[in-house]
């Protein structure tokens, strides 16, 4: 897509969301799967909107499928790594493999599940959805967003798969959603600081509040710069960096925005907590920021080499 087409795509997406309806249905209508199969960077637009408006969808299945080298389909769910993990959701060299992973809401309705198996080389198989146990998770995020998937399946017809490509695609998209959600939290806090008055003036006049908000913007801009690199450079390293930085930024923004919003931001009625919870869940997917940072550092120490700098 060129930038004009991209703008059109974004505008029609936003309009459709504003008309209402499930985000998955909207994505269907705008031809999202064909678009991302053709140009994976389209995911930037979708995940930015998803983060900004705190939407949920099964778009991650499609992104990961494309990254793995598979044609995405509404009938195909992808088994994702379990929360906190960044390894394939299945392992084992024998004829049967144990699956234990995570799915989006699509896991409940899809006919087929795509499972990556960790062997000395990464392998993939397609399983009929009925063969797996699928259970809605009731955790932090909005109900129905995530599904636990497990079971034992026959490893027939395994094929090679680009696991690194799948991980990188997921990390880019999740990083984008994290930063958009962070920007939304900053906006909530910033707007609140302008209207909430204490001691006869808006709280946004107090330097302690201003500097917290400045730190939020600093965090969001750091994430966005890193994410922009990841969309331009498809390497796994760039995607890992983006996810790590975006995860850490989201935690910084959440902490500061929460403090500025204070009491009102602690209520269930205020939208803040939905963003906070969503970013906490997203940080758990495909490697937490803490584990990615540690892995990046370990790689550097093991090789003794600072990775090549981003060229001008």
């Amino acid at each position: 897509m060129d930038s004009g087409e991209r703008q059109l795509f974004e505008a029609s997406l936003r309009q459709a969301v504003e008309r209402g309806g499930l985000f998955d249905a909207v994505l269907n209508d705008v031809g999202w799967r064909d678009a991302v199969a053709e140009d994976p960077t389209v995911a930037a637009s979708v995940f930015a909107l998803q983060g900004e408006l705190n939407l949920t969808s099964a778009a991650l299945d499609d992104v990961v499928a494309v990254g793995l080298g598979v044609v995405p389909s509404a009938a195909l769910a992808v088994a994702l790594p379990a929360p906190g993990a960044a390894v394939p959701p299945a392992a084992g060299d024998g004829r049967t493999v144990a699956v234990s992973g995570l799915g989006t809401s699509r896991m409940l309705i899809a006919a087929e599940v795509f499972v990556v198996v960790q062997r000395d080389r990464m392998k993939a198989l397609r399983v009929t959805a009925d063969e797996l146990d699928r259970r809605r998770i009731s955790g932090l995020d909005s109900p129905g967003s995530w599904v636990e998937v497990s079971g034992s399946v026959e490893a027939v017809d395994v094929s090679d798969v680009d696991w690194d490509g799948g991980i990188a695609a997921a990390r880019r998209a999740i990083a984008q959603e994290l930063s958009a959600a962070s920007r939304a939290m900053l906006r909530l806090a910033r707007d609140h600081a302008l209207v909430r008055e204490q001691f006869g003036k808006p709280i946004g006049a107090f330097q302690a509040v201003r500097h917290r908000l400045a730190d939020c913007l600093l965090a969001v801009e750091s994430a966005d710069a890193t994410i922009a690199v990841a969309w331009a450079d498809p390497s796994p390293f760039a995607a890992t960096m983006a996810k790590a930085v975006a995860g850490r930024s989201a935690a910084t923004v959440a902490r500061n925005a929460q403090q500025v919003l204070a009491g009102i931001g602690f209520t269930a009625e205020h939208p803040f907590h939905r963003y906070l919870k969503r970013t906490m869940v997203l940080d758990q997917l495909f490697g937490t920021s803490a584990s990615l940072t540690e892995a990046i550092g370990s790689d550097v120490l093991r090789s003794g080499k600072v990775p090549a700098v981003l060229p001008l």
Partner: protein, 376 residues
């Protein structure tokens, strides 16, 4: 010239001329040696053409994108051929001269700075005026053929080496605040100027007190118009936070590698190294966007405060690793490497002070980027 061609040609030239460009380790252990060598490198690079790209022809340049300057400084800093501090003054002060000096003056002076024939300094801060630059009091009064200056500057980096100074002076009343400031281009050998180097905590006479006692400055040394000094200063700062920061970021990457090479096994924690690398990487990603905005002819403004904050954080967390990894060397080693790490660790503490402190940058972000309104 395009960036790719410039990069390839410059890299080749740097390889071929390594011997002439490489600082002598003994001489470059002192600030005198570093200053002299930085100017030598600028001269060689100017004569070979590299230092002239990215600058307009009317000041001796060969034109082309500012990206070329970005890459030149990056390559010199990453190879440790120059000291990024003194080198970056060119990036900070030359654009100001080009934008605000009378054409004749810029054409005469800028090439001497680019070619390393001269060193310039930036006389902004005063004993009573650090963050609150708008309250400066160093006075310039009109005379028949120019200005007479009385007052004092402080923390003026490299003033003891400087041939010229871009000086902010008070021409209006003190109450006129930002509107009563005028920028002048002052010869440092003018009668009445006394420079007193200050020993810093990192044991380098990096900055000075500069006293002005009835110093005469000719009328044609006015930068911009009388009373426009604040605008001149505000236009300098984004340069300080774009190309110059890019160069410093490249230097820090090099130093992280040097630290890995020097650190004993097991002395660095993966988590700390990962965090530092992330900060440096994010800074570079951000600063790269800024370089391209400069390339596109955009006017840089308050958004460069983000770049400055990011670099301050990255620089300090990088050097925070140094005592952890090289503790004994940093506290007690008398050898060259130990002294260098010690000095750089200490110098990194200033990264959130000079060029507008991190608090001032946050004030700018809050006021200008988040539009939070007045802070009182």
């Amino acid at each position: 010239m395009e960036l790719a061609e410039f990069r390839a040609g410059l890299d080749r030239w740097l390889d071929d001329n390594e011997a002439a460009l490489r600082p002598d380790p003994d001489k470059s252990a002192t600030l005198d040696g570093q200053m002299a060598h930085t100017n030598t490198v600028k001269r060689l690079a100017f004569d070979a053409g590299w230092m002239r790209y990215g600058w307009p022809a009317r000041v001796g340049g060969l034109g082309g994108s500012p990206l070329l300057r970005g890459y030149l400084g990056e390559a010199l800093a990453a190879r440790r051929l120059i000291e990024p501090g003194p080198y970056s003054l060119t990036e900070v002060l030359a654009p100001t001269m080009i934008d605000y000096a009378p054409a004749q003056l810029a054409a005469e002076m800028v090439p001497q700075l680019l070619r390393g024939e001269e060193t310039w300094c930036q006389g902004f801060s005063e004993p009573g005026t650090g963050s609150n630059l708008g309250a400066l009091t160093c006075r310039a009064t009109r005379t028949e053929n120019g200005w007479r200056i009385n007052g004092q500057k402080v923390w003026t980096s490299y003033a003891q080496y400087a041939d010229r100074c871009v000086l902010l002076s008070r021409t209006g009343t003190v109450e006129s605040a930002h509107n009563g400031i005028t920028a002048l281009f002052v010869d440092m050998d003018s009668p009445g100027i006394t420079v007193r180097p200050l020993q810093t905590m990192h044991d380098v006479a990096e900055f000075c007190e500069v006293f002005f006692d009835d110093v005469a400055v000719p009328a044609d040394r006015l930068l911009g118009a009388e009373g426009q000094g604040w605008a001149v200063a505000m236009d300098i700062l984004p340069f300080e936070r774009s190309t110059a920061l890019w160069h410093r970021g490249a230097y820090l990457h090099r130093r992280l590698q040097d630290l890995l090479d020097a650190a004993p096994d097991g002395s660095l924690s993966p988590r700390d190294v990962g965090a530092v690398l992330e900060q440096m990487y994010a800074f570079r990603a951000r600063s790269r966007q800024t370089q391209y905005r400069l390339d596109a002819g955009e006017r840089l403004g308050p958004e460069t405060s983000i770049d400055k904050l990011m670099l301050g954080i990255a620089e300090q967390s990088l050097y925070d690793l140094v005592p952890a990894a090289l503790g004994p060397a940093v506290v007690s080693a008398g050898d060259r490497e130990g002294r260098a790490w010690r000095a750089e660790y200490l110098y990194s503490r200033a990264a959130t002070i000079y060029g507008g402190s991190s608090e001032i940058q946050r004030n700018i972000v809050a006021r200008r980027l988040l539009d939070l309104g007045p802070d009182r």
